[in-house]
Assembly symmetry: C2
Homo-oligomer: 356 residues x 2
């Protein structure tokens, strides 16, 4: 294994120490691991918190700052963070306006964020959990019941962070997060595997002429393994799965403040259709150069135009990665006036910054 | 070879077509290849133009926009652009205030930009060429006489772009570019090679336990090939070469408007010393994850502190890459009040954006 690391056990701590030195505008807490805005709690504003395994840089710590996340809880590499991190982070960021947990759909993340919410409720802090489950590649997979949470997470964090900045209350933030999550669909593919520090070798094997369509961000198996194709063919496979995806119904658990109980809600995502306006997000899984993402975007734009889906904003780059894995993912998020307004709002984080 | 490409010969064209679709605020010219700000020529402002081989994304096209480059000329992958690109780009961006060419020190780039300047002079356009040669690893190398131009280029482009935006004339922009270039020192290292589309296989070989210290951005051989070390040891090797580097004297060619001739100037870069303030830039060569760059930054900050060199700004991420090569480079640029003011000024490009 060749990586720019010291001890295998110190990878996340040393990354956090580096972030603390590079970004004095953030508070980086080492034990337990969490990162918050330096000015948190922000008076009168809902705190937006996410978290998940490390190795998906710049997610989530790179998205902490004005107009996006108030706090982030990084787990070890490809490992869910623990409830104590989320509880400490939630206490550090709550201004009294409550905390919204944005939870990518992995079983460990979902359970830990629910436990943390219960613990924060006992301390009198209002918390709501919103699930992000946008990966159309597979239903039920390694680590997940239902669809996995992937690229739409970046878009949800940006939009809901801006809404919190604008003064949305906890219920309004939760409603907006749910809407953006339901409007998002993603699919990824891998050209190569990646090496986690703890394993020290590739986490799965792909031969020199094979690719994995529908791969998860931890290298979880996808829809199918096929022979290498052209960028246009691969882009069409991903885009068509997203554009042809039908209604998707599943049950999520959210907290009901009136009853003080978790309740199950059945949600159905509506398919994308001609006339829709979208944010198109072409993501590198880490090792794929930006030039190749532009080749993917070129074909994606052609396909969307043919299908009558209008790309009104785009994001192209490595924003939810799998260490150094080569490959890409495509995310389309249907927008409306409210979503677009908050996408365009100023943001000032290490990884995403404009207007500030 | 597994890459998200279509035909090998279409790589750069399709990347440019994707950029054109994603960034309608830019003008992307396909034949010859060049990218300009959509609002160029910008009345009364000096045009800042750079260029070089493709594959070093987001350089240079990703740095075109308000407050940075007015235009960029991408060559084929790892291949110098040609004078006709530079001439057409120069004509497209000149407002009458002249054109500054920022030239990374590779023999092909230097000759082509000089030829292009001569051709533009014949058309009555004022042009000056400033050389960037910051790589302390080697003197004379494959493709280069003298030190190679690497990471300092990003910093020069940002700072001089802001100065042009603020109304600096051509001579003032050239003087500032020369100063920032002389204040910059860099060194890189590779964990892995990369694959160019035209070659289809790794451009050099490194065994599973070897790394190349002092590698160039085209995989040119470095100072030495050694066994794998820890992030801290590798960071110390790069940082100490930069911090211990003595005065560096070489001759550059610049255009003398009074005589209408190219003249040779002897320039000496002064060593960094205790008490200096710097911008610290930790760059991924493409395949190295952001988390590892933060581990490098952590050690770099410790070393700079021990040496009395104060990091006042930092940039961490993939900004001058070698396709999917794993590895990193460190650049330190000594700053003064003028440089810092222009570093902090607003910028709005695909790859670097703040305050706008």
């Amino acid at each position: 294994m060749k990586k720019l690391i010291n001890g295998v056990d110190d990878v996340v701590v040393e990354q956090l120490e580096g972030m603390a030195l590079a970004h004095p505008e953030l508070n980086v807490n080492i034990s337990p691991h969490y990162i918050t805005r330096g000015d948190a709690p922000v008076a009168g504003k809902v705190a937006i918190v996410s978290g998940g395994g490390s190795g998906h840089e710049p997610m989530h710590g790179g998205f902490v700052g004005m107009g996006m996340l108030t706090g982030a809880c990084p787990g070890e590499v490809f490992t869910s963070p623990t409830p104590d991190q989320m509880v400490e982070c939630g206490k550090a960021v709550d201004s009294g306006a409550g905390v919204l947990f944005l939870v990518k759909n992995y079983t460990g993340d979902v359970l830990s964020f629910e436990t943390a919410a219960d613990m924060l409720h006992m301390e009198g802090i209002n918390v709501q959990n919103i699930l992000i489950d946008d990966d159309v590649a597979v239903k039920d997979s390694l680590y997940t019941a239902g669809r996995r949470g992937v690229g739409a997470t970046v878009i949800v964090e940006k939009i809901v962070g801006a809404a919190a900045e604008a003064g949305y209350d906890l219920d309004q933030c939760a409603d907006l997060a749910r809407k953006v999550s339901q409007n998002g669909r993603s699919m990824g593919m891998a050209l190569t595997s990646c090496v986690t520090p703890s394993k020290g070798s590739p986490i799965f094997d792909l031969s020199d002429d094979e690719i994995e369509i529908g791969v998860g961000i931890h290298g979880e198996p996808g829809m199918r393994r096929i022979k290498m194709r052209s960028a246009d063919e691969i882009t069409a496979m991903l885009a068509n799965e997203i554009l042809d995806d039908g209604p998707y119904t599943r049950t999520v658990r959210e907290f009901d403040r009136d009853s003080g109980e978790w309740v199950e809600k059945e949600l159905t995502d509506e398919p994308l259709q001609s006339g829709d306006e979208v944010i198109a997000f072409v993501n590198s899984l880490g090792g794929t150069p930006l030039s190749e993402l532009y080749a993917v975007y070129r074909k994606l734009a052609q396909i969307c135009e043919e299908r009558g889906v209008k790309i009104v904003r785009n994001l192209i780059g490595p924003y939810i990665t799998s260490l150094e894995m080569q490959g890409c993912s495509i995310t389309l998020v249907k927008v409306d006036e409210e979503i677009l307004k908050f996408w365009d709002a100023p943001v000032n984080t290490p990884a995403l910054r404009w207007g500030a």
